[in-house]
Point group: C2
Chain length 208, copies 2
């Protein structure tokens, strides 16, 4: 109780999670057998089942953990003093990076596949991924509007638009293996396009 453990009841807990993480992200829920996981984790079946009552709960735990990890890599807006172009470019790069990374893609795939069977995973994913980005973007945009840097009527819509623009091409083409990688250059081009489009719509200079 004094060290690290509280809920987790044994020394191999982390091994189990880590092994399950790798196998589930690679093979999905159905594709991963419990034996695969124990092998990957270097742990016996009995040990695994001493931590988790069944495969479903183990999966939920892993999936939620990955969603939390995803949240950690999400955008943050510290430097709100710079011009919107600058702030949005930096934020956009983070969004595009996550969308094209192996990690982001794997988590997305597995959450989409199992969102029907495990609805809470769907919610968790949204909340810690697109939802979080959306929320932080909204907060930033509100500030920028108040500061007179941007002119936006429907801020939630604008936030969704910007995020979606940064994922244009990148996400879908990686998901379906049309591109095996995205160069930083190409990604930056897409982000630049997103910022340009966003600014020409909501920048203070061009009011309609």
């Amino acid at each position: 109780m004094t060290t690290t453990a509280k809920v987790k009841r044994g020394r191999k807990f982390d091994q189990v999670i880590e092994g399950a993480r790798r196998v589930f992200l690679r093979d999905g829920f159905d594709g991963a057998s419990v034996d695969d996981i124990t092998r990957e984790a270097g742990v016996s079946k009995a040990t695994l089942y001493s931590y988790f009552p069944d495969k479903r709960l183990l999966f939920l735990e892993v999936a939620k953990g990955e969603c939390r990890r995803q949240a950690e890599t999400a955008v943050e807006f510290d430097d709100t003093d710079s011009a919107p172009e600058t702030v949005l470019t930096i934020a956009g790069r983070r969004i595009a990076e996550l969308a094209s990374s192996d990690f982001g893609r794997s988590v997305f795939r597995v959450c989409v596949a199992e969102a029907e069977r495990f609805p809470e995973i769907g919610h968790e994913f949204y909340k810690s991924g697109p939802g979080l980005v959306r929320q932080r973007l909204i907060a930033y945009l509100e500030g920028a509007v108040a500061r007179g840097q941007l002119a936006i009527d429907d801020i939630p819509l604008a936030a969704a638009q910007f995020a979606e623009l940064c994922r244009a091409e990148v996400h879908v083409r990686r998901l379906f293996h049309l591109d095996e990688t995205f160069s930083a250059k190409r990604r930056d081009g897409i982000v630049r396009g997103a910022v340009e489009m966003f600014m020409s719509r909501y920048g203070v200079r061009n009011r309609d």
Copy 2:
């Protein structure tokens, strides 16, 4: 040979496909058992296996068929005489509708889930869905630029941007069950936002 059949070797062929379609779209590849499918199709196992050598091939056939169906509902650009705002609004509605429909969502989900195991399904889906939309949008935009209606430097990027803007919010929130339906009104609002943004970036009036 005189009637309807040519390739398909029996009268229950369509029943099999239809049953498999329903079960696969509902439960995915692993989630669907062959017995489920025969039950749903009202057909015996032997009958099914007389048409398809194994479950994998049946799935591929169904998935490809659904991709073809998806292609049929994709955007088309007949009326290119109207103003870009009008043409894009109509096209955008089609894109947003498909993205938020049960059909579009199911096909997307199942293709994402199995794109790793069946790479050709990933390609087929892209080709008959986002890829087709992109291609047709590019063709239209090229025309509009030539006609002097729009000013676009990177047409493929612009096409991707527009399509993505129309799917903003709609797609993700439906995928993860944050909204069970999308009213036509709300959808139209998103499409209007997409068109406005697109026009303020690429409309001929606002050159930078």
